[in-house]
């Protein structure tokens, strides 16, 4: 009974971590620097939010499938593949959840007064020091709120995960896949149980994110 929940939490946690790191780096670049192709990269970073997850899954197969651009190299050199593994499921969920971190972090970084960073510069503090001691502390609420939404999104991921990792009970079958499976089998009680668990997890996350997003008194 617990396996799909624990697997979902593992996959969603790993996915959120990946989305967090990539999202913060991308948001920082887009929010701070003006460079050619910036709009294109901005659009690409937002794309997973509007594209069907199955299409994203297809792209991922092209990339990391055993004959994919990156996947072939991984398979031939290292003998590993991400296809039909929980790590592959996490990668798929990370791609789908990434725009939520990116959007939240970008708005948060753009909300930080650039003059404060300028002041820190004249005080001799390095750029990385400024990011860690000024920018991030002032933007963390927005970053964290985006991260919680990303976790919620990763928890419910279905389409891209199915394409990349399949639906293997105990290995890649997350909650949302298990719900589909249970309904197909006609096991309505198990489906209802899984739906209740998923709903509780998602509502809890949204309440937490809403609290963080509320303006400070």
């Amino acid at each position: 009974m617990l396996t799909p929940l624990l697997l979902t939490l593992k996959v969603a946690s790993a996915a959120t971590l990946m989305a967090l790191v990539a999202g913060v780096v991308a948001a920082r670049l887009i929010a701070r620097y003006r460079f050619p192709g910036r709009e294109v990269i901005d659009a690409l970073c937002t794309l997973p939010m509007v594209m069907p997850p199955t299409v994203l899954g297809y792209y991922l197969i092209v990339l990391i499938g055993r004959r994919g651009w990156l996947g072939a190299w991984l398979w031939e050199r290292l003998g590993i593949t991400l296809m039909f593994t929980w790590e592959g499921a996490a990668l798929a969920a990370a791609v789908v959840a990434f725009p939520l971190v990116f959007k939240g972090a970008r708005a948060a970084f753009e909300g930080v007064d650039r003059q404060l960073e300028g002041a820190a510069r004249t005080l001799g503090v390095s750029e990385s020091g400024i990011f860690l001691r000024v920018t991030l502390p002032l933007a963390w609420r927005g970053v964290l709120a985006g991260t919680m939404l990303a976790f919620a999104r990763a928890t419910g991921e279905f389409g891209a995960t199915l394409m990349v990792a399949g639906n293997i009970p105990g290995r890649t079958q997350t909650l949302s896949l298990a719900v589909y499976d249970a309904v197909q089998r006609g096991d309505d009680r198990f489906a209802a149980y899984l739906v209740a668990v998923t709903s509780v997890v998602c509502v809890a996350i949204l309440l937490g994110a809403g609290k963080l997003l509320k303006p400070r008194a």
Binding site: G118, R121, G129
Partner: protein
């Protein structure tokens, strides 16, 4: 000591939508109290940002005390971190998430980690005492008055012993009874820390009291 102490010669075209603004300002002086006087919109802030390294001139030279901070001909453009220029922002730019003492000691912790050492903590205490801020050490910037905020910003800038102090309209945010007093305080600070300063202002009274050398700027050009 190299002469002149300060040499500024900056040219920059700033564009906002379809308008272009040309900053062409040059002066050199041995004075330790320079006032750049001009109406708002005359490019005064852009000028001191070019000196501090927060804005890059299209071409020109900035020299302070024998060090070349910027020289487009020689390809020199020191980052603001290496310029040793103190900058008092018009609205002070205090870090809102840090206490008064953390703001003052901000520059003493240039690394990524850790607390201040004992020697640094003593420097912060001394600076707080010098600026009469001891009783507000643990306050956040939003909890103290405008005059106190300005003293925090000055203490923060001066604790690293800059070679020159740039002040952007240091009196405009204060109400007029306070202005008179702060003018006197600024002069006292300048003497006490023996730091040359460049003050930009649109107030003739500031120019008269604070300036030994007054540069009059209008529409990006020096006119007197």
């Amino acid at each position: 000591m190299s002469r002149p102490w300060v040499r500024v010669d900056v040219h920059k075209t700033l564009r906002a939508r379809d308008r272009a603004f040309h900053l062409d300002t040059a002066f050199e002086t041995d004075s330790d109290r320079i006032v750049v006087f001009g109406p708002s919109g005359s490019g005064k802030t852009a000028l001191i940002q070019c000196i501090a390294g927060l804005m890059t001139p299209d071409e020109g030279v900035v020299r302070v005390g024998g060090r070349t901070l910027f020289d487009s001909g020689a390809g020199i453009d020191l980052p603001p971190q290496e310029r040793r220029v103190g900058y008092l922002f018009q609205d002070y730019a205090l870090f809102p998430h840090l206490t008064v003492e953390e703001n003052v000691g901000f520059a003493l912790r240039p690394g990524l980690s850790g607390r201040l050492g004992e020697a640094e903590r003593k420097r912060v205490r001394d600076a707080l005492a010098a600026f009469d801020l001891e009783s507000h050490a643990r306050s956040l910037p939003r909890q103290i008055s405008g005059g106190q905020r300005q003293r925090v910003a000055l203490a923060r800038a001066l604790i690293v012993k800059p070679e020159i102090l740039l002040l952007d309209e240091p009196l405009s945010a204060l109400d007029s009874p306070l202005r008179e007093r702060v003018r006197g305080e600024l002069l006292a600070i300048q003497q006490r820390f023996a730091v040359p300063m460049i003050v930009i202002t649109h107030d003739p009274a500031d120019a008269a009291v604070l300036g030994r050398m007054v540069v009059v700027q209008r529409e990006g050009k020096v006119v007197g």
